[in-house]
């Protein structure tokens, strides 16, 4: 795809990386004030921001908010429906669902942010090098990106987790390893389009050196596109993380985590539906929060598309 004179980057792997707009958003850094204004004028974006803020608060204050110890089992009180002492009921080991959902936000936040951050760091480094130097460097780096891009995310992640063992860190690493190519492609194509922009040509004409041009002129402008992608895809990463748990290869099952809760609840379908509905709602609200924020950010950066 890299050979097209017109970039088609931005269409990521279908299951996890929703397409960024076909044209990379280009915003001059001086426009941040206006971008913020446009963002805040967008109702959904603000709702998203509130949801994300709530998520962070819940994650930070989970111990204060939780009515019970999320690990405490009560075998005499298993599978109690919602109500009474346990607002959202208890699971098959008599643990309080509400507390487990509240604590589950911690894993979601950590994995979501860390894996996307890591993916962005790798992706930006590779994409910037490829986009700026072009030619041989570009070819080699983009072929490597292709290899990881073409790998199915979940399978790659499962293999890495089996090698590294279960746990939060392996999950973060495995998600990042297979999602950085999207960032690279996005950044690279954005750089390619910015590279010939007037202000970069002007900088070059004024005798700025390569490194300076990348750091001062190209990156800040290309990074806008990456940021919108990142915000949007934190949600995707959280889903992927829950999917791994759902498939039984994520974090250990005793850890309060939404995917784990769903995996344990799956066979109770039709008899104890509250076991999977509440964690599902938690996931959906979280993902929507990030999606709204990502959307809002994209629209704010590129208002044409509204």
């Amino acid at each position: 795809m890299s050979e097209l004179t017109k970039s088609t980057a931005g269409a990521g792997p279908a299951q996890t990386a929703p397409a960024a707009p076909a044209e990379p958003a280009i915003a001059r850094v001086t426009q941040w004030g206006e971008i913020r204004h446009r963002f805040l004028a967008n109702k959904l974006a603000v709702i998203g921001l509130v949801l994300v803020a709530l998520l962070f608060l819940v994650a930070i204050f989970a111990p204060l908010l939780s009515p019970h110890d999320p690990y405490a089992q009560d075998l005499t009180n298993t599978l109690q429906g919602p109500g009474g002492d346990h607002l959202l009921g208890t699971d098959a080991l008599g643990r309080d669902q509400l507390s487990r959902i509240l604590y589950g936000s911690r894993i979601a936040v950590v994995v979501g942010l860390a894996s996307i951050f890591l993916a962005c760091v790798i992706g930006i480094a590779v994409g910037a090098l490829a986009g700026y130097f072009g030619r041989g460097t570009d070819s080699v780096l983009m072929r490597i990106a292709d290899v990881f891009f073409a790998f199915p995310l979940l399978i790659g992640a499962i293999v890495i987790i089996i090698v590294m063992g279960r746990g939060v860190t392996p999950v973060i690493i495995s998600l990042a390893v297979f999602s950085w190519p999207t960032v690279s492609r996005l950044l690279r194509s954005s750089i390619l389009s910015v590279r010939e922009a007037d202000y970069v040509l002007a900088a070059r004409a004024l005798g700025a050196n390569t490194r300076r041009i990348i750091l001062r002129h190209i990156l800040p402008n290309s990074i806008a596109a990456v940021m919108a992608y990142a915000a949007f895809n934190v949600g995707g990463a959280i889903v992927a993380e829950a999917s791994l748990s759902f498939l039984g290869v994520g974090v250990s099952p005793e850890v309060p985590e939404w995917g784990n809760m769903l995996a344990a609840a799956k066979d109770f379908m039709g008899v104890k539906d509250y076991l999977w509905t509440y964690p599902s709602i938690a996931i959906v609200l979280t993902v929507l929060g990030f999606v709204f924020v990502g959307d809002g950010l994209r629209d704010a950066l590129d208002p044409k598309l509204r």
Binding site: M1, E3, L4, T5, K6, T8, A11, G12, P13, A14, Q15, P18, A19, P21, A22, L44, R143, I144, D146, V147, A150, F151, P152, L154, I155, I158, V159, I160, I162, V163, G235, V239, A242, S243, F246, L247, L262, K266, M269, G270, D273, W276, S280, I283, V284, L285, V287, L288, V291, F292, D295, K304, L305
Partner: protein, 307 residues
């Protein structure tokens, strides 16, 4: 053009090579003996284990194993799986058909729903329908496929028994998994379609087309569509490539006997020939579809030069 395709196919081989090398290295360092146990946690007779290791060349060093794999692959042979000891190609073939069935249905749903919704939203911008569609498509992006799958299952299998849980080979059993798979992509297609179409509708050549006295449907379905569809085709192509590689979660939820499910099981059982077969296939299809999309892009947009 011809040279371009050849060069791209060459790159494809490089990517496939890279992916299989990465995969081999991963599988090689996995703890556990892939032929060490039976279906359950019962250890195999050591003599049988040794015999099987020999038979499948598992005692060879990694480069030799990889060399053999490449040699066999060149002849279209993916080896024998470790549990049933049947040819991998024979095992995967019907599963591939199932996955393809699902992928095609899903992509058709994507196209129909996605394009239609995007079209309506763009044409009636800011109308009730636009707001509704924008809201729904945004929501859809927020629903993980396993949640969608479980909700659909609960609603249309358990509560309203309209669809069978077990595939009975009819279109009926295809509908729920295909929808589960399609919802996200359909939403993304709709969003993409709306965005590009709004841009195209503003283009000068649309004005020209109207000024030429063309009927509205010609303007819309010839001049507007043809231009709006380009990024959508790109997206759908790549998405189709991913779908064909097997949908792990959806196939697991709906017990769809496709290569995605086979892959998950194979990973659990360390049934390496199946893993290698499915992943190689998935990567190859993905890269190939990327190439096709690029070619299609050049056909759809004459400004693109393939170089």
């Amino acid at each position: 053009m011809g040279r371009y395709v050849i060069r791209r196919l060459g790159q494809m081989v490089v990517v496939l090579f890279g992916a299989t090398v990465v995969l081999f290295c991963c599988l090689f360092v996995l703890p556990g003996d892939p032929v060490g146990s039976l279906g359950g946690d019962k250890a195999r007779d050591p003599a049988v284990v040794e015999q099987l290791r020999e038979r499948y060349g598992l005692n060879d060093p990694l480069p030799v194993q990889y060399g053999n794999f490449v040699k066999n692959l060149a002849q279209g042979d993916l080896g024998e799986d470790f549990t049933q000891r049947r040819p991998v190609t024979e095992i995967l073939q019907p599963k591939l058909v199932n996955t393809a069935e699902l992928a095609i249905t899903a992509i058709v749903i994507d196209i129909v729903i996605g394009l239609l919704a995007g079209l309506v939203a763009a044409l009636f911008r800011y109308s009730f329908w636009d707001v509704l569609i924008t809201l729904l498509t945004t929501m859809a992006v927020g629903f993980p496929s396993f949640v969608i799958g479980m909700v659909l299952q609960k609603a249309f299998v358990v509560e309203l028994p309209w669809f069978p849980l077990i595939s009975d080979g009819t279109v009926n059993s295809l509908i729920l998994p295909a929808f589960t798979l399609a919802i996200l992509d359909a939403a993304l297609v709709a969003r993409l379609m709306r965005g590009t179409m709004l841009e195209v509708l503003r283009a000068d050549y649309v004005k020209t087309a109207i000024a030429k006295g063309l009927p509205r449907r010609t303007v819309l379905f010839k001049h507007v569509m043809r231009n709006s569809i380009i990024p959508v085709v790109t997206y759908l192509g790549i998405s189709f490539g991913t779908l064909l590689g097997g949908a792990l979660i959806t196939e697991a939820i709906f017990n769809w006997d496709g290569i995605g499910l086979a892959l998950v099981q194979a990973v659990q059982q360390q049934n390496n020939p199946i893993i290698i077969g499915v992943v190689s296939f998935g990567v190859a299809v993905f890269v190939l579809l990327n190439l096709i999309v690029d070619l299609l892009y050049a056909v759809l947009d004459p400004r693109i030069r393939l170089a």
